[in-house]
Amino acid sequence: MPFAEAIRLALRVIWTQKMKSSFSVIGVFIGVTFLIAVVTVVEGMNAYMTESFANKLLGVNTFQLRRYPGVQMGDISSETRRQWRRRPRITYEDARAVEAGLTVPVLVAWESSNRGTVEYDGKVARDIDLIAATEEWFAIREMDLETGRAFSAQEVRTGQPVVVLGNELAERLFDDRDPIGREVRVRRIPYRVIGVAEPQGSVFGMSLDKFAVAPALSPLKRFVNPPRVLDELKVRANSQAELEAAIAETEAIMRSRRGLRPTQESNFSIETADAVLDFWDRINQFLMMALPGLVSISLVVGGIVIMNIMLMAVAERTREIGIRKSLGARRRDIMRQFLVESATLATVGALMGIAFGLGMAALVQATTFLPARVAPWSIVVAVILGAGVGIGAGLYPASRAARLDPVEAIRQE
């Protein structure tokens, strides 16, 4: 029997037994749904991490010089934490020395932050990221302003009480009114609003637009750090190569300032987006390693179900097999008929799983911050797995059907 004919026959059998067919493919269906949904979401996460998370939070070609890492990944022992807290802080002097010592062309900004309130006209916005920074901060973050202007080098140096608000904060305090030139209270200190940033979006569902940024030396400095101390020095280079050179220089400058011997570990942290991405890669790899296990469990179960359904089909259709044999069907014709049927059944299950999995991924995308990226390989793998499970599960029932004795088979009621 030609192959196309066999598939047509299989589809007809599957269609006439819709209920039984849909039960029998449930294992394959679930396995494939899972595969597609997880891969799609993980790939989405992947794209999200590389395209927005790391760059939004840490910036492109940018490193942070800190006392200890700002983005902490994985299991960190309390011993490590204690050691971190014993490290000296990054001082204004450290920052100026690095700035002066770097030979690579870079942008440099100080940043310190704490959480606190911003008030205007009786309205209080709590839990706002209050940032004290230098003028290049906006350039490094690639932050454009919606209205107004950023603060200048001179305003930083002289510690002017001017502030740029995050988009959501500005909206909350001012509604439709123009905030420029109005006086808000940042930690109860009067500040004049000079600009509002463009919306920055969100990371993992947390808004990036609830901040207020003011000159590093303005009165806010008292609330974000002890005197003459900063959280981090942000350095942005023009390229990956220059970034690496700048990191090496910074490390050398800091180690010499702190008088570290070559055998001693650095007592400061230099953090890049790559480090975060490396960590994400590890999570990613773990997920991708766990996935085959989870998928194969449901596929094995699905295969067993299909095998049993096929054995039942062979038993029920013994007479049909006998008739076909009496009309000249050879063993391989019967074998092929049942293998194709079982493979078609499982593939139909896999196709439904793909559709449902994509639907679920779309639902996740619509209802959460997680994006969905369909990985073409996962669809190919799903179809191959489906057909493979079907053929594997069909082998034994099909060979039993093929070996039936025609005289006995045709007598079956």
Partner: protein
Amino acid sequence: MSGESLIRVSGLTREYRMGAETVHALRGVDMEIRRNEYLAIMGPSGSGKSTLMNLIGCLDSPTCGEYWLNGVEVSQMQDDELARVRNREIGFVFQTFNLLPRASALHNVELPLIYAGMSGRERRQHAARALERVGLADRMAHKPNELSGGQRQRVAIARALVNDPSILLADEPTGNLDSSTSAEIMAVFEELYRQGQTVVMVTHEADIASHARRVVTLLDGVVNSDTVREAA
């Protein structure tokens, strides 16, 4: 009686093992069937006529003895070779029709051609012609359960004939039919015989057997009598 030898069996024996016991269904049958014979095999139940029919139809292989069909020894053949012989040389008509219930009359008739490897269009033409031959040109798309008993048996006859077999093998072809329909089916056989078709029929009903030109009776696994009648 005319034509050359089509079937020759000699010393045909078939034993079944039933647990510790051995059942001797056939104990050495010798027989010759010529082309364009109309033969009935008779005998009480247990006489071995179904076993002989299965062996002639290549559904089963003998324990010992020879079976030559069309000058080829089939008693030594393996499974797939037998399937090929069934497909090319034999047309079965069963008591219970044995049509595929979910397939149309046309598709049922197409089945032997599918296993013969014929392409789709040619197959449908052949099958349609076979159905026309048995007077079912207007019932091709019907499923078996939409047809009467007589019509079903005609579909089965069309299916048996579609590959132009050397021999039409009918096992109690009227066993499930009323007397007027039986007469109708016997008329079809008569007509096929007149057109030159070799017909071998197994039956236990004497009046059905009386349509044949030659009657072989079996008893306890051996040929008991072999009578040739005058043309009706």
